[in-house]
């Protein structure tokens, strides 16, 4: 041990303590590689953000240079666009919060021993429900609870709860059963094992479910306009109904860019929140 000259960079080198030699092949690696590794892990995210910003810039330039009719100019006034976008984000975030509050605890409960027999059927329903067309859910629910913001929110919640629920359950299920046993074997209570072992290890899968749900929500919130729920969807319907192609394109692009931006934020959170050592 005393003759060991390993640098911290050699920490990843495998091998048993007794067989590791000072001339470990991983030892000469320079700190430069750490910066490079960091850059590599962030590279995709940087490119994604750059792409989103470029597309947005292109849209702004196009709107400022295109030959727009007075109706189009009114509809696409920056103040109006801002209101639609805020409405859209409100719908999305509200639904997302409700989804998290409902689906995560439900997913945890369904993987606990007393309810574990329900895991498989619920996963099947979740997968099946994901295939239902969003527009159908939105409109049917509106007929049931009435048109407006809350009908839109409710249908969004129903729709987005499925991926979060599914990923919570899958994330908890894929935790190595031996680790749970090791925890219990050391005298951790089942709650301690859940909060200190199972949930931290399920975080990456759960977060990716949340991100999927958010992206779905941004897309589906565009349908809220059909039940008078507000959001950027109004640009698309107006564009279609009045044959105002620039309005239609702007609406569609804004929804897409918002979805990509939310996806980006989700990825950043996943990247940062992923437990070290995984």
């Amino acid at each position: 041990m005393t003759t060991r000259t390993l640098t911290t960079e050699a920490r990843l080198a495998g091998g048993d303590s007794a067989v590791e030699t000072p001339g470990d092949p991983a030892a000469p690696v320079l700190p430069v590689s750490r910066a490079r590794a960091t850059w590599r892990s962030w590279r995709g995210l940087v490119y994604q953000l750059a792409g989103i910003l470029l597309a947005f810039l292109a849209l702004v330039i196009w709107l400022n240079t295109a030959d727009l009719s007075p109706i189009e100019l009114t509809t696409l006034a920056p103040a109006a666009l801002w209101v639609y976008t805020v409405e859209h984000i409100q719908l999305t975030l509200l639904a997302a919060v409700i989804v998290l509050v409902i689906a995560v605890p439900l997913g945890i409960a369904l993987t606990r021993r007393p309810l574990r027999f329900l895991t498989a059927p619920v996963l099947a329903i979740a997968n099946f429900g994901q295939a239902a067309p969003a527009i159908g859910v939105v409109v049917l629910l509106a007929f049931w609870v009435g048109f407006g913001f809350w009908a839109a929110t409710l249908s969004l919640v129903l729709y987005a709860a499925l991926p979060v629920l599914r990923n919570t359950m899958v994330g908890l299920q894929q935790v190595d059963a031996r680790l749970i046993e090791a925890g219990r074997g050391m005298g951790m209570s089942s709650a301690a094992v859940l909060f200190r072992v199972e949930l931290p290890l399920a975080v990456p899968v759960m977060l990716s479910g949340v991100r999927t749900a958010l992206v779905l929500l941004v897309g589906t919130a565009a349908l809220a306009t059909f039940v008078n729920g507000g959001g950027l969807g109004i640009l698309i319907t107006t564009g279609v109904n009045l044959s105002l192609t620039p309005v239609l394109i702007t609406g569609a692009l804004l929804v897409a860019l918002l979805a990509l931006l939310i996806d980006w934020i989700g990825r950043v959170v996943e990247h940062v929140a992923r437990p070290k050592g995984l």
């Binding site: 048993d16 303590s17 007794a18 031996r178 680790l179 090791a182 050391m186 437990p275 070290k276 050592g277």
Partner: protein
């Protein structure tokens, strides 16, 4: 031990005098007519097992898969709750105490260590102390102490994550974690099953060293009979339903298997397995002609011929063997060189005969050099010495069985007497086993 006295719900006097013997930090365990039936299974996984595990000893549970050995192990810390029967640790009935509290006082090691991948080595080891409310400084000191104990440099390993460790290192940390709160009992479930054979041997040696120092009570499940022979003070061989076929010392199981099942389980080569029971230091070594670097080769050759040997051992100024020259090599040399031969077949005096045999089989001389303290040359061990040792240990084992010393089957003797109030058929079965052993 105080762990149990303070935390056990049942007040009981310490009835086991062996637990208070100096040096031993382990606690005795008694499985008293323990049965486990799993729902939906016709036959019980463990059927009326009574077994005493003496304090400070390593007891190996072996048997074919599905024989209930792992179930038996997990009933000791009540990861699996027994359907019937009592579990007594250090004289305290722990069958009804809080399971989590019980488990905090019992070390538990599983295959591949079972380390939590999102926690550093230090945090993994500190889990139980933290649950027991130790302060941070005390935990940190304990972590370093334990890493030293399992031969890992604390400065280098304490902040690593499990994925940055090799399989053997993970297993070591697993053992350190189990020992964190200094529990009197250590349960191990196939601890060395997931590492390569060479690392496994080293880990086994280390466990024996640690045990020599700490003298815990260790109960270890394995499917590897050789491992059981090497590690166990006692070996319990189970058949289906955790029926004890034989519960005895490794020597006597190898030398005098209780029945056909045990014989089949040991498999062929019982004689070879006995080699792991004897250390090189226990057998008589042959002398060798010794030479020093710088001597005239002809002088050494003359001594070799005079002694009627085929080789001469060349040792350095501190009597460490550096070369082993045959008559033919000596004939070719003028003076003896001082360059050490890296392929010299050397074994330490604490090595098992098995290790010695391995070493000598690869050496051209059909023998191995034995070194003692500070690697000083002690003598030569050859194949004939090993063969004699096998024959002798076989007869010795049989002789010992004939005398049948009381206490070797303490668990089973007590089982017979304690069985009075329980199902008579089980008592008869266990009693029959006990007699078969003798």
């Amino acid at each position: 031990m105080s762990e149990f006295i303070s935390s056990a719900a049942v007040v009981s006097t310490n009835t086991d005098d062996s637990a208070t013997r100096p040096g031993i930090t382990g606690a005795s365990i008694l499985l008293d007519h323990v049965t486990k039936r799993f729902p939906g299974q016709a036959r019980p996984a463990v059927d009326g097992l009574t077994m005493e595990i003496p304090a400070g000893k390593i007891v190996m549970l072996v048997g074919p898969s599905g024989c209930g050995k792992t179930t038996t192990l997990k009933m000791i810390n009540r990861l699996i709750e027994p359907t019937e029967g009592r579990i007594v640790v250090d004289g305290d009935d722990v069958t009804d105490m809080n399971g989590d509290t019980l488990r905090r006082g019992i070390g538990y090691v599983i295959q591949a260590g079972g380390l939590f991948p999102h926690m550093t080595v230090a945090r993994n080891i500190g889990i139980v102390p933290k649950m027991l409310g130790w302060d941070t400084a005390r935990i940190a000191t304990r972590v370093d102490e334990l890493l030293e104990l399992v031969s890992l440099d604390p400065a280098l390993y304490r902040d690593r994550y499990p994925k940055e460790l090799s399989g053997g290192q993970q297993q070591r940390v697993g053992v350190a974690r189990a020992l964190a709160a200094d529990p009197p009992v250590l349960l191990m479930d196939e601890p060395f099953g997931a590492v390569d054979p060479i690392t496994r041997l080293r880990l086994q040696d280390e466990l024996l060293n640690i045990q020599e120092e700490l003298q815990k009570t260790i109960v270890c499940v394995t499917h590897d009979f050789d491992e059981a022979v090497k590690l166990g003070d006692w070996i319990a061989i189970f058949n289906e339903g955790a029926q004890l076929e034989q519960y005895d010392t490794p020597e006597r199981i190898l030398g005098d298997p209780a029945n056909e099942f045990v014989e089949n389980f040991i498999g062929s080569g019982a004689g070879l397995k006995q080699l792991t029971l004897t250390r090189v230091a226990d057998v008589a070594l042959s002398d060798a002609v010794v030479g020093n670097p710088g001597e005239q080769a002809t002088d050494v050759l003359a001594r070799v011929v005079e002694a009627g040997h085929g080789h001469a051992v060349i040792v350095d100024e501190r009597r460490r063997p550096i070369q082993w020259l045959s008559v033919r090599q000596l004939g070719r040399l003028e003076t003896i060189g001082d360059v050490p031969d890296p392929k010299l077949p050397v074994v330490g005096k604490h090595a098992t005969l098995n290790d010695a045999l391995d070493t000598m089989l690869v050496s051209s001389a059909g023998a191995a050099l034995v070194t003692g303290r500070r690697d000083m040359f002690k003598g030569v061990i050859d194949v004939q010495t090993v063969m004699d040792a096998i024959t002798r240990s076989q007869t010795a084992a049989v002789l010992e069985s004939d005398q049948a010393p009381v206490g070797l089957n303490t668990g089973l003797f007590q089982a017979q007497t304690a069985a009075a109030g329980a199902d008579p058929s089980e008592a008869v079965e266990n009693g029959a086993d006990a007699q078969a052993v003798q």
